[in-house]
């Protein structure tokens, strides 16, 4: 399994290698100028994995108030990814994907509580948001707690905000995994998608306006992700580090984009 923060996304244990996957992925995570100025690292984490005909992507954002929010985010993504990818727990014909997703969030919460005991700290010190998606050939299932969000490119090229951020009334309030863990919002999208993007809230002001995807941002990204290139992660990272993004947000930014390889369409 290859789950990384700020690096490349890859293929999972026993699954096809990245080059053999039916999905092209690009991922990047950069530290916000707010954190950089304070001399601290990113609290975002992401992980993705392709097993058989399933693609799993997880993104988490440790809360700013949480002392070990970055650790919580890593535990959440890696636990959820492991659960959703493991042969014994991943979704199958016998296990409903929505139920699998709920269990993955339960497991992430359990592991966060476990780490809190190891660190002898309050579980809220590890508070984090989490979003996870399982993409099947003909549908996808999304689980979400907090304000990381999901945008998809439908087969007919429409761009849809599938998992809008869960948030409180005020901009700096969001539900999270922690002591007062929220039940995940589960969304089933009953048709195939061409591309998927999961992102942390740093991207929101750029990618979504008036509750709708901002197409001048997403359309070039879909096109970019659909092309096989050697340096996709670096290119995406360059974008997230650019002035045009940094002018709009000082927060950590994480973006994972996956596009189904065109030759696999005929099989779907």
């Amino acid at each position: 399994m290859h789950s990384v923060n700020g690096g490349a996304a890859g293929a999972g244990d026993g699954g096809p290698s990245r080059n053999q996957s039916s999905w092209s992925t690009a991922a990047a995570s950069v530290v916000g100028t707010n954190h950089f100025d304070q001399g601290v690292g990113s609290d975002d984490w992401y992980a993705c994995n392709s097993v058989g005909n399933q693609l799993v992507i997880c993104v988490a954002d440790g809360l700013g108030t949480a002392k070990y929010g970055g650790i919580g985010a890593r535990i959440a993504t890696e636990t959820a990814l492991g659960f959703l990818s493991h042969p014994q727990t991943r979704a199958s014909r016998n296990v409903r994907p929505a139920e699998t997703m709920r269990r993955a969030f339960d497991e992430a919460t359990t592991q966060i509580n476990c780490r809190a005991r190891q660190l002898i700290c309050d579980v809220n010190d590890l508070a984090t948001t989490l979003i996870a998606v399982i993409a099947f050939p003909d549908h996808l299932v999304l689980g979400q707690v907090g304000d990381c969000a999901c945008v998809v490119e439908e087969v007919d090229r429409r761009t849809t905000l599938l998992g809008p951020p869960m948030k409180g009334e005020f901009a700096n309030v969001t539900p999270c995994l922690g002591n007062t863990s929220e039940s995940p919002r589960i969304i089933r999208h009953l048709s195939a998608v061409r591309s998927i993007a999961l992102y942390s809230d740093g991207i929101e002001a750029i990618g979504v306006v008036r509750g709708k995807p901002f197409l001048p941002f997403w359309d070039p990204l879909w096109k970019f992700a659909s092309q096989r290139r050697e340096k996709a992660d670096q290119d995406l990272r360059q974008l997230l580090c650019s002035d045009k993004i940094r002018r709009a947000t000082d927060d950590d930014c994480t973006l994972v984009v996956a596009t189904r390889r065109s030759e696999t369409w005929s099989a779907n």
Partner: protein, 228 residues
Amino acid sequence: MESHTLLESVATPLEAGQNFEPRCPVAIVVDCSGSMSGGKIEELNRGLQQFSDEVRRDSLVALRCEPLLIQFGSRVSSNRDWKTADEFSPPKLAADGSTPLFEATIAALDAIEDRKRAYHAAALRYYRPWMLLISDGEPTDPGLEAEAIERCIDAERMSKCSNFSIGVDGADMDLLAKLSPARSPLRLQDMKFQELFRWLSSSLKSVAHSRIGQQAALPPVSGWAATP
């Protein structure tokens, strides 16, 4: 697509001339009654101008912070022209008239709720609004006292906004305490309006840069608040 092409081809709402940053509204309610004339109103004007300059300097605060000035004296300004800090330009205030403090407080709370409705309509996120109340005298509209106090208590209890009250000279601090029930009012030291507004701009920077789940830490008030 070459690597530089992604960077060039992607556009952001800001580039499209649209500001969808989350907003931080702050109603600045200032006493312009006759008792503020002379040095006090001059220092207040200087403080406001300095505040305007400082919030513009931080590019993110300039896009997120929305100050609204409500002055009360011979009348209460009914202005609800919220503007982001990059467009905020305070008028030169003149001291005149009575002290309709309660009417101004109610007007500010109404303006905040009105603004929140506009945010909802525009699908804009926002931070918890602020109301900063500055007064030096006894209110002259006692008929509205009960309503104003009730509205302030409700605003804090329901987390509608955060109220801050600043007393100047002989202000009735007990009364101001009723208008900011969650935090004690502070008395301005020696007409230090500029220091007060420097604190306000620093505080709003802290709020505007705060991350999800993060309660903004405010700077110390020792530079302008009198010790009790």
